[in-house]
């Protein structure tokens, strides 16, 4: 038995370079059940983080009773994240939405599907009437639905209503990953494979607290670190995360200065001859301009901008420059920070100039923050077009028009799809009048929540919310549609490293709750969308039909699914796209031949200026004659839009704990996870705390130009001058009459990266004051993860106890 709250990463199974990662099957069955109590196991994968871990759902008496990892799967080899072990219990939560709700004055009242859908359709028809009707609709979806659901939604939006106003909350987590890969390599699509961990001799983690965000990937890294010939490790993070503590070198950079750091590292690598001249000449363009820019970042200047020792910059360059098989992973410390796309591209540059791409161990993970974010991007339910097509390439739009049998100009392609923050701006200004939010909770997760609540509550904005529970967002809706969730519907989704999994229906949804796909298809039917020949635009009735249609849409594109079927996904391991007739078992790594997706007829973008987001035209792009070479984009450091001042002298960064996901819609309803991290906390460096007269557990006020919140203080290893808040905590489990401000996004700034349009969650200026004495009671922060207190702090350890006893081992 193992308490996976106390030991989120479980036991080590060390292995050496080039060896196969040993199997370890993790399992948790509730209420003392064992395997013999399980009627059947149903295949699935995780939707509580972005790693894509494969699992089986245990069913007894028509209910989910537990889960186990799938030993056969290439991604996790049986392991599971604690959120997966315990999080499924939220499915059985008594406060699930079981009937549609409609607004009656200031209340939401229970209703039926005909009434609820009738209201949406009546409003839609009214809004569609007249020129510019398309522009009155906005869709804000998720990173947690299934591929089939996104594709159906994408077709409804683009070919049914003809609106470009569709995005996912993937904008908050993964937009920069996509933007950086498009900019450097020509299209989205992860070059590497998780198996690169098995082969690498150095791992660099760029703003990526993988220990808490993708625990199973961290287990793989730790197992290499405990085995023979372990990889060196570099961590770049302002916090003392488990990754930073494990790393051989930790650069606790000042928030918002990533580009200066990577430019400085590139300078050292080039000057010391640690780059691959042949690879650069054959497979990249822009090297001279790169040299010109990075030359302005000698170690001492980097040290001044980033506030790290110059000697550490040199040591980091040596670690990166002398490795033979370098693996990089990038996440929110880069993506949600200042100059996000430029910094993520700079990591791509590092791999390109060293030729560290497309072979075992030499890889890049431009990570995703959410389980199905990859599919939102592939299917065009966010700011991308289906099949990773280029909105500015008319022949790509014509392909979609043929596929859907609609006029080319029905599909909006006059500009990139509207990004989430702009959708909310149009709603604020009143030109978007219907906002349909599916499986996400912007009233807790978007920046500057007071503004978001004000927008959602506007009387002239008709808000549809599709969710499992009455979230903070659903409270403000005009119609609430009860969705079925993971385990209650069938569909597919894809991990960071392009591995496609199926998730089969294990049990019926509660009450009248419906799969999100059924809801979208019902809307399409009721709206009676037609194709060019007057036939119904959408004729699908179930997920497998949508998947087959999606395969056609993906044909010939980087994310080619044509060799995958539901049947092939069942029983074995997930399969990596592209998977075609020629590559029936999928493709482990992209760009193995150094030929990138930059051909003008194939690429997903004609490029942008990384400093402003200015879009280049097709002739400008063609004139560069990329010929399959990758782009080395380089820009100078510019300070963040918001920097500390006298009134707000500290920097706020936000993030996750290992025990919670997003706004706790599910994990807050799983007892073991809820108890491990029950309430918000604020992390302070002990030196800052002493100056402010704050001790462990004291109640602290944190305020920015947008608002203020209260949280108990955790004194720990965050860099001086910076405070950290977990963004998970909203208000659904507080008394509605007596809500204490505690959501981190009350404080964050409405600002975004000019290219990826990803909001800047890591760089708000805040003031911190003590509000009340904690009387020696420690903050509710877990003692595991980035919030770990110093060993002598006397804070009781976070444990799960008997309720969290799981099994783990070889089978």
């Amino acid at each position: 038995m193992v308490d996976r709250i106390a030991e989120p990463w479980g036991e080590r199974t060390p292995y050496g370079p080039g060896d196969e990662w040993p199997v370890r099957v993790d399992r948790y069955l509730a209420d003392g059940r064992t395997d013999v109590d399980v009627d059947r196991w149903v295949q699935s994968a995780s939707v509580l983080h972005s790693n894509g871990d494969a699992m089986d759902i245990g069913v007894a008496d028509g209910r989910i009773v537990g889960v186990r990892g799938r030993a056969v799967d290439r991604i996790n080899r049986g392991r599971l994240d604690p959120k997966d072990l315990y999080g499924w219990q939220a499915n059985n939560s008594p406060d699930r939405l079981t009937r549609p709700l409609v607004r009656d004055g200031d209340r939401l009242v229970e209703s039926d599907w005909d009434t609820a859908m009738g209201r949406i359709v009546a409003r839609s028809r009214d809004l569609l009437d007249g020129p510019g009707g398309w522009g009155r609709f906005g869709f804000y979806t998720s990173g947690q639905l299934f591929l089939e659901e996104y594709y159906a939604l994408g077709v409804i939006g683009k070919a049914g209503l003809g609106t470009p106003h569709m995005d996912g909350n993937t904008r908050l987590c993964t937009a920069t990953a996509a933007a950086a890969m498009k900019a450097s390599f020509g299209t989205d699509g992860q070059p590497g494979s998780y198996t690169d961990v098995d082969h690498c001799d150095a791992i660099a983690l760029w703003g990526h607290n993988v220990a808490e965000t993708q625990t199973v990937l961290w287990m793989r890294m730790l197992d290499r670190r405990r085995g023979p010939n372990p990889p060196a490790m570099l961590a770049v993070d302002p916090r003392a995360t488990p990754v930073a503590r494990e790393a051989d070198l930790h650069l606790a950079v000042r928030n918002g200065t990533n580009i200066a750091l990577v430019n400085g590292l590139l300078r050292e690598i080039i000057r010391r001859g640690w780059y691959d001249r042949d690879y650069v000449d054959a497979h990249t363009m822009g090297f001279e301009e790169l040299c010109r820019i990075v030359d302005g970042y000698p170690p001492q200047r980097v040290a001044d901008i980033c506030d790290v020792p110059a000697a550490d910059v040199e040591r980091a360059a040596e670690l990166l420059g002398t490795s033979q098989r370098l693996l990089s992973t990038v996440l929110q410390g880069f993506y949600q920070s200042n100059q996000a796309t430029a910094a993520a591209c700079a990591v791509n540059n590092l791999h390109l100039v060293r030729g560290m791409i497309g072979r075992p161990g030499a890889g890049i993970y431009q990570m995703n923050g959410q389980p199905t974010a990859q599919n939102t991007r592939e299917t065009g339910a966010d700011g991308d077009l289906p099949g990773l097509r280029n909105w500015a390439n008319t022949s790509h739009i014509e392909e979609l028009a043929r596929l859907w049998n609609v006029e080319v100009d029905t599909i909006p392609h006059w500009a990139p799809p509207t990004h989430a923050m702009q959708i909310f701006r149009y709603a604020e200004q009143g030109s978007i009048k219907l906002l349909w939010i599916s499986a996400t909770n912007p009233a807790v997760s978007l920046p500057d929540l007071a503004r978001i609540r004000r927008i959602l509550a506007k009387p002239d904005l008709f808000v549809v919310v599709q969710d499992l529970f009455l979230t903070e967002t659903a409270e403000l809706a005009d119609v609430v549609l009860p969705g079925a969730t993971w385990g209650e519907k069938t569909g597919t989704f894809t991990s960071v490293d392009r591995t496609v999994h199926i998730s089969d229906k294990a049990v019926d949804p509660p009450g009248e709750a419906k799969p999100d796909l059924d809801i979208f298809l019902d809307y399409a039917r009721r709206m009676d969308f037609r194709d060019r020949d007057g036939q119904p635009l959408i004729r699908w009735t179930g997920p497998e039909e949508v998947f087959e249609a999606w395969k056609e849409c993906s044909r010939g594109r980087p994310c080619d699914y044509t060799g995958i079927t539901y049947a092939r996904l069942r029983g074995g391991s997930g399969i990596q796209w592209p998977c075609t007739e020629e590559h029936p078992d999928g493709t482990e790594r992209l760009y193995t031949d150094g030929v990138f997706h930059t051909d003008p007829d194939y690429c997903e973008t004609y490029g942008q200026d990384l400093a402003t987001g200015a879009e280049f035209t097709e002739p400008e792009y063609r004139a560069k004659e990329p010929n399959g070479r990758a782009f080395l984009h380089s820009v100078d450091y510019q300070p963040s839009p918001e920097v500390p001042d006298e009134d707000h002298p500290m920097l706020l960064t936000t993030g996750r704990t290992v025990y919670q996901f997003h706004t706790r819609t599910k994990t807050g309803r799983a007892p073991q996870l809820d108890r491990a991290a029950p309430d918000v906390w604020v992390e302070l460096n002990p030196a800052d705390a002493e100056r402010l007269g704050i001790a462990e557990g004291d109640l602290v006020g944190v305020s920015s130009a947008r608002g203020g919140i209260q949280a108990r203080a955790r004194l720990c290893g965050i860099r001086p001058g910076v405070v950290f808040l977990p963004f998970h905590y909203g208000y659904f489990d507080q008394d509605p009459a007596d809500r204490t401000p505690r959501a981190a996004n009350e404080l964050t700034i409405t600002a975004w990266d000019p290219v990826s349009k990803q909001p800047l969650f890591k760089v708000a200026a805040v003031a911190v004051t003590k509000l009340a004495d904690g009387r020696g009671v420690p903050s509710p922060a877990p003692t595991i993860g980035g919030s770990a207190p110093p060993a002598d702090a006397g804070v009781p350890a976070t444990v799960g106890g008997p309720a969290a006893e799981a099994t783990s081992g070889k089978e």
């Binding site: 990139p416 200004q429 009143g430 200026d609 879009e615």
Partner: protein
């Protein structure tokens, strides 16, 4: 030699553009990207103007009297709302276009007087000015349909 007049024209156009970027950025603070990028570009324009100063001094001694109607007035203040944003960005576009063509003309003159220092400044700045035009065009293209067709 009339180069000084064109340097004066360009200097004033860059100063005016910097001020217009600042005003538009402030007037549309609720469009965070416009606000942030306008202020960023304002700083750049002001810096370009500064870089021209020594050359204006260098050539002013040889300059005859300034010709009539040398300077143009393209900006008379900001507007509000969706169409207001579009019009303000359009003003910026026209002002940046004036700078753009003036850099070209000054660059040609720099060749004529064999002034390598001035040429280096022109090379740095004309590319950045062209990028400002591209950004303004990109932003206006995205905003136009909603502002002109959809908004009440």
């Amino acid at each position: 030699m009339h180069l000084a007049h064109y340097l004066g024209l360009l200097h004033r156009a860059q100063v005016n553009l910097a001020e217009a970027f600042r005003q538009v950025g402030d007037a549309h603070a609720e469009e965070p990207d416009v606000h942030h990028l306008c202020h960023q570009q304002a700083k750049r324009c002001a810096a370009y103007a500064e870089r021209l100063r020594p050359f204006a001094a260098r050539y002013s001694e040889d300059a005859p009297a300034e010709p009539d109607r040398l300077h143009s007035q393209l900006f008379t203040g900001t507007r509000t709302g969706g169409i207001g944003l579009l019009r303000d960005l359009q003003d910026l576009y026209l002002m940046a276009a004036e700078c753009d063509i003036t850099w070209t003309v000054v660059g040609q003159a720099a060749y004529g007087v064999r002034d390598e220092d001035l040429l280096a400044v022109v090379r740095d700045c004309e590319g950045e000015t062209a990028m400002q035009l591209t950004w303004l065009r990109t932003r206006m293209k995205a905003a136009a349909p909603q502002a002109l067709v959809v908004a009440d």
